[in-house]
């Protein structure tokens, strides 16, 4: 496809039951009632000139370029603000209109520089297009006079420039920031000639303002005023390819706009069903890591980890690896080998790694980074609802009346979904936030949470049980729903349990530190929509629950997930739009990695390895017997390594040393192994302990699929050749073949065909189907040929027919064993921020560091004062496990007694401090609760310094003796 902007219909799509028919320039067209004439004209192939309208923001009617004539109507109304009506006869191109439009255009151009030939938007500028469309040939006012041509450019944002001399004051940027992103960072002031756009307060530039660099304004701007620096540098793109963001679980789709093999810019795809043409700073701008100088592109090996790396050919590296793995297997047995799949890689790649472990290594020792984030979601939702996934699509939030956010920080971690949620909150939905920290959502422009319950970290189950207590004892449970859809006996057991006085908010206040009256009010709001709730559309309010790692990363993570499921069932909030239980997944393909059989006890599609029928399918397809016993999880692998029974680990695209708890323990486990294979883009922290480094490829260099948090499977498409020579699945296949497996995949689509063949919920998925449908939400099978946006409609995915009853599970609050005391009086909890991503391997290698150059420790003013500390001070953060240093930020976002930090930078080593306590059911680590002490310090700890030295030493590379192929 040559380069073309995505078409713009001028005003947003309208969803209405009724439709109207009208005639535009002699063409008959039928559109949903409420559609603008402008959009109706675009839908029947017309194009009315416009400047201030765009189809992702509400019509504004300010530029007066889109005038039309309507038979029987006086004057020349603006088509963007005129709704189509039944029988209307519209003319869009008449001599009168042409004259009026020319006049408007003349005014714009008289205050616009005429350096089109050298402008970075040349040939990709709506002002230019419209001047052509109205046939402007001359400007009567002359170009002298008063103008804005001398204004200085604001280049403070690392990714885009703001050149006000080219601004036509259409306010599209301001409205995009308000309506699409919901940040309200831009203002348009003044009237007439003095009108001008500015970021933040007087004196602010883009970087110092509230701007979160989402780029919505850049995309909205019809001129070169707001434009990507990369376009300035490289020039106009020549083609575009649709692909999927490789950062977070929202799964935004983009047009990767290319010049040859060079990426010019990423533009969110309007037809993307997860993001509807929006994105955040990471996906749109932070792709520079793909060609960063730190990237390793040739394979490397070493006998021992204290030696420098040796660059070798692919053949040599694969042979070395296969020999080592073979020797270990011969001597210690198959169960001494294992692998870790990555939530950053594609479904196809993940499926292949688990196949290599099960079929090639011969053990079930395969796990994935989801272990440390959402494994409790898998366990909890599988137990209660019958399947390990969120129940809704993102669009569902538009139908919610009460939104409960617990242990999630969507504006930072899932920004594009957060924009959608904020849009619904601005139009009237009520918000309840349960979080130890006052996340941004609690109070932001035009949004205020009805209740924020700042609970003590580690007491999620107690808070949810207390809410259930209120709902059941005050008679607010939806018994009709429960009788019809759930197991009534189990409900009664559960109701009896939660009704016990010891689960009342008043009694539990002592542990949760949440005021009982607030908690009661929040519970009532969730169940009833609040006093006087009424709606024309529905008889009872839709309550939706969104949660994140603040739920799962606890010693009671699985219990909390089940408590959430209980609450949704008790209030009848499952199985239709606007309700449901929604885990906000961290990484781009956490959902997919879990679906693909990355857990040691499960084959793809969540079938236990001991299930003879399911395992039999794989055995028949792969032509070999598989181990029916569950394998080791990541923490168990490390334990087993320490006693010598686990010796080899293939790690694809994960940095367990930085991301897993208790760094010392992870390091000791890795050190004890004989063969650690790291397959990644960069020499990450884990690679310090590796014997083999296999270079990986970026999402821009491969074909495959990702599955986002709404179970939506979307294509990732290769836009450039892999710098390392191979897509990641090809490397896994080469390793398998070096071990004698004789795999013969020639394209990633063949791997997906195998997944579909072996996994009932993926039966209808193939790359060809995805190309045609754009995306599909599993299950995709005979019962749901076009996928399933909403799950558990009419029955829960339990039992043989998948139409079973929901299961209430009694979840008792069991306090964590990580307790504060005189030596460690504070509770540390962790999180992340918008501009950085997890361990930061990618984002730290982009300009995003301007927003987050280091991890900071947040502390309440009272605690800081007690310790004589102030913002900016170096502090020592110590737990029973270890200690580190980082700088302090004093803020009342956190409650007294609680401190908070992110874990994006390796130098901070926040996980030196975290403990090995973990979820009882899944061993998901308890990152969110660590008892700590904080005191003044004057610099990095010994561990940090030793670590830096060790790290430098273990990353030495000697060049290849003979040239690598």
């Amino acid at each position: 496809m040559g380069y073309e902007r995505q078409s713009d219909f001028g005003t947003p799509e309208v969803h209405a039951e009724t439709s109207v028919s009208l005639t535009i320039d002699g063409r008959e067209v039928t559109v949903p009632a409420g559609t603008s004439v402008m959009r109706a004209a675009a839908e029947c192939g017309g194009s009315i000139p416009k400047l201030c309208a765009s189809d992702n923001i509400a019509a504004f009617g300010s530029c007066r370029l889109c005038l039309i004539e309507v038979e029987g109507m006086r004057g020349t109304p603006a088509s963007c603000t005129t709704p189509a009506a039944q029988g209307m006869v519209v003319h869009t191109q008449t001599p009168l209109l042409q004259k009026l439009r020319k006049g408007v255009m003349e005014l714009y151009i008289s205050d616009h520089p005429l350096d089109c030939l050298t402008c970075s938007a040349n040939n990709d500028c709506e002002l230019q297009d419209q001047a052509a469309a109205v046939g402007l040939r001359d400007v009567r006012y002359g170009y002298a006079g008063d103008n804005h041509l001398g204004l200085a450019t604001d280049s403070s944002n690392p990714y885009f420039d703001f050149d006000p001399s080219k601004c036509i004051a259409c306010s599209r940027c301001v409205r995009a920031c308000d309506e699409v992103q919901g940040t309200f960072a831009l203002t348009i002031d003044g009237r007439g000639f003095a009108t001008k756009v500015s970021a933040g307060q007087a004196g602010d530039d883009f970087l110092s303002s509230e701007c979160v660099s989402c780029g919505a304004c850049v995309q909205a701007c019809p001129t070169a005023t707001l434009q990507e620096k990369s376009v300035k540098e490289i020039g106009k793109p020549e083609r575009s390819v649709i692909t999927t963001c490789a950062y977070c679980g929202v799964g935004c789709t983009f047009r990767a706009e290319m010049r040859g093999e060079q990426l010019v810019r990423m533009v969110p795809w309007k037809d993307g069903k997860a993001n509807h043409g929006h994105s955040c700073v990471k996906g749109r701008f932070a792709w520079g890591y793909a060609n960063h100088q730190d990237r390793i592109t040739s394979p490397m090996i070493r006998e021992q980890i204290d030696q420098p790396w040796r660059e070798v050919s692919w053949d040599a590296a694969l042979q070395f690896t296969a020999d080592r793995l073979g020797a270990i297997k011969a001597r210690y047995g198959a169960r001494a080998l294992g692998g870790i799949t990555s939530s950053r890689c594609t479904n196809e790649e993940t499926f292949l790694v688990q196949k290599l472990v099960r079929a090639g290594f011969g053990s079930n020792n395969v796990d994935t980074c989801a272990r440390v984030c959402h494994s409790p979601t898998g366990y909890g939702l599988k137990t209660t609802f019958g399947t390990s996934a969120g129940t809704q699509d993102f669009d569902s939030v538009a139908h919610s009346d009460v939104i409960l956010v617990i242990g999630a920080n969507p504006t930072d971690a899932h920004p594009v979904f957060a924009s959608q949620m904020k849009r619904r909150l601005r139009t009237g939905a009520k918000l309840i936030v349960i979080d130890p920290r006052r996340i941004d959502l609690v109070r932001m422009p035009h949004i205020a949470a009805a209740h924020h319950l700042p609970l003590q970290p580690g007491t999620n189950v107690a808070v949810l049980t207390a809410m259930a207590h209120v709902i059941v004892t005050e008679g607010l449970a939806d018994e009709a729903f429960i009788r019809e859809r759930c197991d009534w006996d189990e409900y009664q057991d559960w109701a009896r349990f939660v009704s016990d006085e010891r689960h009342s908010p008043e009694v539990l206040e002592a542990v949760t530190r949440v005021a009982a009256s607030e908690l009661r009010a929040a519970a009532r709001l969730f169940a009833t929509g609040g006093p006087g709730w009424a709606s024309a559309q529905r008889s009872k309010p839709n309550g939706a629950i969104y949660y994140g790692l603040g739920v799962t990363e606890h010693s009671q993570g699985s219990s909390t997930v089940m408590a959430i499921a209980n609450l949704a069932m008790a209030t009848g909030n499952v199985g239709r739009p606007g309700v449901g239980v929604n885990p906000l997944r961290g990484q781009n393909n956490v959902q997919g990695a879990c679906d693909m059989g990355s857990f040691p006890h499960e084959l793809s599609g969540y079938r236990h390895v001991s299930d003879d029928t399911a395992r039999g399918l794989f055995e028949a397809d792969w032509g070999m017997a598989l181990d029916p016993e569950p394998g080791l999880r990541i923490p168990n692998m490390l334990d087993a390594a320490l006693d010598g029974s686990f010796r080899a680990l293939y790690i694809q695209g994960e940095d367990i040393l930085q991301s897993d708890p208790n760094t010392h323990h992870v390091a000791a486990g890795l050190k004890a192994m004989d063969c650690v294979i790291v397959h990644d883009l960069f020499l990450n922290e884990t690679a310090d302990y590796a014997h083999v480094f296999l270079p990986g490829s970026t999402f821009l260099e491969k074909t495959g699929t990702f599955t986002n948090a709404e179970r939506r499977i979307q294509m990732v498409r290769k836009v450039m050749e892999p710098a390392n020579g191979f897509e990641d699945w090809e490397v896994t296949q080469a390793l398998a073949n070096a071990m004698g497996l004789e795999w013969t995949y020639t394209h990633a689509s063949e791997i997906m065909d195998e997944v579909a063949r072996l996994t009932p919920s993926f039966a209808g998925v193939s790359h060809a189907r995805l190309d045609q449908a754009g995306s599909l939400q599993w299950p995709v099978n005979a019962a749901h040929p076009d996928g399933s946006p909403i799950m558990h409609v009419g029955g829960f995915a339990r039992g043989p027919d998948g139409k079973g009853k929901g299961k209430f599970v009694v979840t008792d609050y069991v306090p964590t064993d990580e307790k504060t005391g005189p030596r460690f009086p504070l509770l540390l909890t962790t999180g992340r921020i918008l501009s950085q991503y997890n361990v930061g391997a990618q984002t730290r290698r982009t300009e995003n560091t301007v927003w987050h150059p280091e991890d900071l420790l947040e502390m309440h003013p009272a605690d800081a004062e007690n310790r004589g500390l102030k913002s900016g001070d170096w502090t020592r953060l110590a737990s029973r496990t270890g200690e580190t240093t980082l700088r302090l930020m004093v803020t009342d976002r956190v409650a007294p007694g609680v401190v908070y930090t992110t874990f994006h930078h390796p130098a901070t080593q926040a996980n030196v401090v975290t403990t090995e306590y973990s979820d009882w059911a899944t061993n998901c680590p308890e990152y969110k609760v660590t008892a700590v002490q904080v005191m003044a310090s004057n610099g990095p700890t010994d561990w940090q310094e030793d670590y830096t030295a060790w790290s430098a030493k273990s990353r030495r590379i000697v060049a290849a003796a003979e040239p690598a192929e």
Partner: protein
């Protein structure tokens, strides 16, 4: 495998399942171990010192002993 750690894990599972009543909790704990623990973990807890196991966890481990297919290390 470190039996102290496995013991801790078994106790934690039992405590979280205890609210269902003793019999159910014993069965559920045993089943959880069967479904999610790797053979060498099962073998190690069967062969190890059980004095630190709390009653439900201990009863679950005893029940495991009677299940076919799990041999002590």
């Amino acid at each position: 495998m470190d039996v102290a750690r496995l013991t801790y894990m078994a106790n934690q599972i039992a405590r979280n399942l205890a609210a269902g009543g003793e019999d159910a909790a014993i069965a559920a704990t045993a089943q959880h171990i069967v479904k999610y623990w790797e053979p060498r973990m099962k073998a190690a807890i069967l062969a190890g010192d059980r004095s630190a196991l709390e009653p439900i966890a201990r009863a679950a481990v005893e029940r495991l002993e009677r299940v076919a297919g799990i041999e002590p290390a």
